[in-house]
């Protein structure tokens, strides 16, 4: 479901799912939380470029990750587009998450 690679100290996580919905959100949350536990204190870029749809359960995974990382955490989202971007916008969470067009922009 996810693939990770490092750019210096930053951990880049690509989610290989087209739909971030209630059928996969619980498993995705476990994978991401495990990843954060293994890579504590590293800046994190979450690449959602493959996702074409996200419901509130998928958004809940992103918010839980933000809460898990806490105030000192460094989480950036990339590749947010189309229906995924609309879910962020409708729930006003586009104001909460730092978003970049792609991984290169987030790393710059």
């Amino acid at each position: 479901m996810i693939e990770t690679h490092s750019h210096g100290d930053t951990l880049v996580v690509r989610i290989h799912e087209k739909r971030l919905d209630a059928s996969i959100s619980p498993a995705l949350k476990v994978e991401l939380w495990d990843l954060v536990a293994q890579h504590a204190n590293r800046p994190l870029i979450l690449d959602l470029g493959e996702a074409e749809f996200m419901d509130s359960s998928g958004l809940g995974v992103m918010i839980s990750l933000l809460k898990l990382l806490g105030a000192e955490g460094d989480l950036k989202l990339t590749g947010v587009q189309g229906a995924v971007a609309q879910t962020f916008k409708l729930t006003r969470m586009d104001r909460v998450f730092p978003m970049y067009p792609d991984v290169d922009a987030a790393l710059a």
């Binding site: 958004l59 918010i63 006003r92 969470m93 104001r95």
Partner: protein, 144 residues
Amino acid sequence: MSTKTITLTIDSQLENSRLVGLAIRGLCQLLPFDTEQTEGTELGVVEAVNHTITQAYGNEAGNELSLDFSVDDDHLEIQIYDTGKALEPGRLEADTELLPTEDPMSWNEADSWLAILRQTMDRVDYYSVGGLNTLVLRKRLVAS
């Protein structure tokens, strides 16, 4: 005025909301909706189905959930039927904030479905009669 209706019946499992989402997306692409309206309709219907499965049926499989997608000259109407636990009276009218303005991180996923429905649909109604619950979502076909 002619009305065309498609009925979809699923078992109460969250993976089936994906099927519903893809079906409504396909239907909306045949209607005079722009991309944002199509995506919003899909999101609203998926949220409604997820809520029905998790709240009306307690996330237990083996229960039937039916959806009627009806299109007339002016509206798309989606009726979602279940026989599970009814929505508490007044819940639909409750003042549900999309996002708490003072603390965005207190956003509650469980409460978000209704706020999303209000954002994505033109009208939302709910009836519970004789053990049959019906959530009605309406959206104008007129391009915004």
